[in-house]
Amino acid sequence: MTRWGMAIDTDRCTGCGACAVACHAENNIQTVGEVEAARGRAMHWMRIERYYEGVFPDVKVRFQPVLCQQCGHAPCEPVCPVYATYRTPEGLNAMVYARCIGTRYCANNCPYTTRYFNWFAPEFDAPLERQLNPSVSVRPAGVMEKCTFCVQRIQDAQEVAAQEEREVRDGEIKTACSQSCPAQAITFGDLDDPESLVALLARTERTTHLLEDLSTEPSVIYLRGGR
């Protein structure tokens, strides 16, 4: 079986945020504008969390890119009353926008707060809409959304592989965030393929998960910084 996963090397990541903008471009994520952003409604499927440690002058900054962790036991899934969010056989936590009625229960129950809600219908001042990615739907008002692990890119690669009658090769699929990352901090691949780079990274001494104690079984792995 395939189980898509991602490894983020926090020792490589500089917090530059290129991944977050790449995600906006790839996934037709709306920008909500100043007023809405001030109300806590900005949408960043990928966000760079910044934490301070210590006091000046011995203060340290840590950056941590956080996206949907594509949990193996996703707390967001069982609470959705209409099956608008569910787990795919390939281990993705998927959203069916057409079914979402907007209870926002899933977002409440996501311990990583990685779900974003369309409080208003997205607006793209003409001709900005010409940039929209035709492979990704634009979500209407009242609908929940979040990182999809760039499922459209996974499917594209799978189609090409199927046409060429072969398996998808490791490294062939790059999510938009991992493609852009100037530091190459993000590695995407199949965790169930022991030969894949992401599985290799998942077995290193530096491997850790976010909120591991909650047993959500995230598919996103963080490689700790430092030596």
Binding site: A18, A42, Y51, L128
Partner: protein
Amino acid sequence: MRRRDFVKATSVAAGATLLEGCGSPEEQFIVQRVRQTPELPGESGWRFSVCRQCAAGCGIVVRVVDGDAKKIEGNQAHPVNKGGVCALGHSLLQELYNPDRILQAQRSSGNRGSGAFEAVAWDDAIAQVVSAIGAVPADRIAIVASDRSGLTGALWRRFAAALGAPAPAFLEAPELEVERRAAQLALGTTDLPYFDIANADCVLSIGAPILDPGRSQVHFTRAFADMRRARPTRRGRFIQAEARMSLTAANADVWLPVRPGTEGVLARAIAGHILASGSVPADAARRYRVLFPGDAPSTADAATQCDVPEERIVAVAEELRTAERGLVIGGGSAAAHSNGLANVAAALGLNVLLGNLGRVGGVFAPASLGLTRTVEPSNPADSPIAELAARLRGESGEPVELLIVADADPVHALPAGWGIREAIGRVQTVIVLSSFRDDTALQANLILPLATELERFEAYESPTSAGVAALGLAEAVVEPMGDGQHPADILLAVARALPESVASRFTWASYEALVRARVGEDLARMPGSAGATASAYLSAAIDRGGIFGDAAAMSAPSGPTGAAPELPGALSEGGPEYAFGLLPFASVKNGDGRGANRPWLQEHPDPLSTVMWGSWVELSPADAAELGIHDGDRVRVESQTGSVETHAVIDPAVRPGVVSMPLGHGYADNGRYAQGRGANVMALVGAGRVDGTTASAWAATRVRITRVGEGTMVRFGRRYEGGEPELIPVGWAPQQTSQLVQIRGARV
């Protein structure tokens, strides 16, 4: 037809035209706009291009569906970015499809500066430029352009020379002039050297904000990451000596928050420590004394001056000395004090002591394809931008009656202390090549719109950050949205319409023709050209996104060429009533202002402050408490030169006594996303210059801060609420991967 076949077809055609065109007028050469790929509706393809959003010039690939550009990714083959793209690079799409982009030439239709414009036909606009040039004495013309190093820059020099006008000035980050000058003194390079960060074991950066945007963010980020994690047995360490907690400092293993302006003292003290240890070969020590004949300050002295504990200075010096490959870089705010040249020279000079010249993990000479060679006048000398400012103010040189500004916004970017904003109003005719009503274009009589790099043939040679020569080369990937053109094509169109004496020196039909001709002429010098015809070589180059040099050709710099100025204390502008040193900086949010008109970037949180949609000033908790300022309050920031209002961000990583503000905010127009948002920090910066150069000492301004009242600041993340920052994210459990996640295979 596949893209590859198509590229071949067009390139062959182009090559054939070139060959035919030998001797005959090249007017037959039509600007090749978009390759008309016969695609099925809905089919998507990837096309190479070059990102021109900053001077780095990364190679990109663009997804095009039904003629529209959809997504930008990095070209893996390009040595500068190796497949990465930064936030600003992505947002190029929002320049292309910006609702407020100027698509037709505009003529001022009211009082200049009032913002009233009317559309003009392209040919009329060109004619207007031609007549404006004819109407003034050549020595009263002034030209400001960007792209100092590329072919476009060479064309502007040629243009000014042909007109008999003073040499053009180039608008770039001011500290680069200082860094170049310091590199020339300390390392003997003509341009910025290449630092092999990826292969170093310990990097000391004295002020250079390499991971921040503005120079070559993608390249340096990759190098930094590779330094840490690309080698199985070594993890390189990074030490940042800088007064501000920049993005670079935030990623460093060690941050030395030195007192602003004392960076050179730190570097000299470290040099003294290393020299005293006796581990420096005699030859290296001798060469170093060419640069600094005098005695170095003691580490104890440095500790007092820099306000950093002595043991930390000694520890850094020891780490650098004992590292197998210790590397030192310098620049940024260290270069932007009155003593900036000495600061950077002191930093770069350490490489001489460490034996870094031409060594893996060390310093290399810049590399270039040399394409500008025959385009530039024989003795190219640029006008310093400070000199141009003085001319505009009428203080020196010939007064300016015609100002041509190409793809630059000096009114926004230059210090208010230089008085450009007021002076430009007195210039009779201002012609601006710009796609937005930025602060300079607002003052124009005539605005000529530009094509984005995606709509035009592009050739851009990256400055030397990649170590090897890198010329990004690409044909247009989408149809132009409007009349805009490449600045070089506008220049050529104007030049051809000028009298014969000028026109005869610009025989290229287009920028593309020029580039093809130059590569053809110098084919033998081009990397990997052995045995290829010019057309085949070019089509292969376009097929991979450019011409990229060979790492084997990297060479060592020659070493110190003269004595650096000794280290005077940094001068600052503003008396004791101005309690704070002001450090302007470029945030990944808006960059130097180029990103201000793009919603993706306005809504992109600054990595440290997490502010969106506006500007801010960073204050230390102690200073804020003393001033009675709370996080998010509106505050007034005043210097001798000017005063602005913005929001306060209280940040536990700010050095007390120092405040900083991002560049690229506070536009009068510049499109709906930028208009009236935030404040321009350059409005505070005074007229000071870096000694021994013409560059602005932008880090030398002192300011005072007063609370105006409560404010609402747009933040993405949690703000700092005082007390001790203890925030280590929950879940950074020190334990290994839990057993819950089954991963097949053994642990490595």
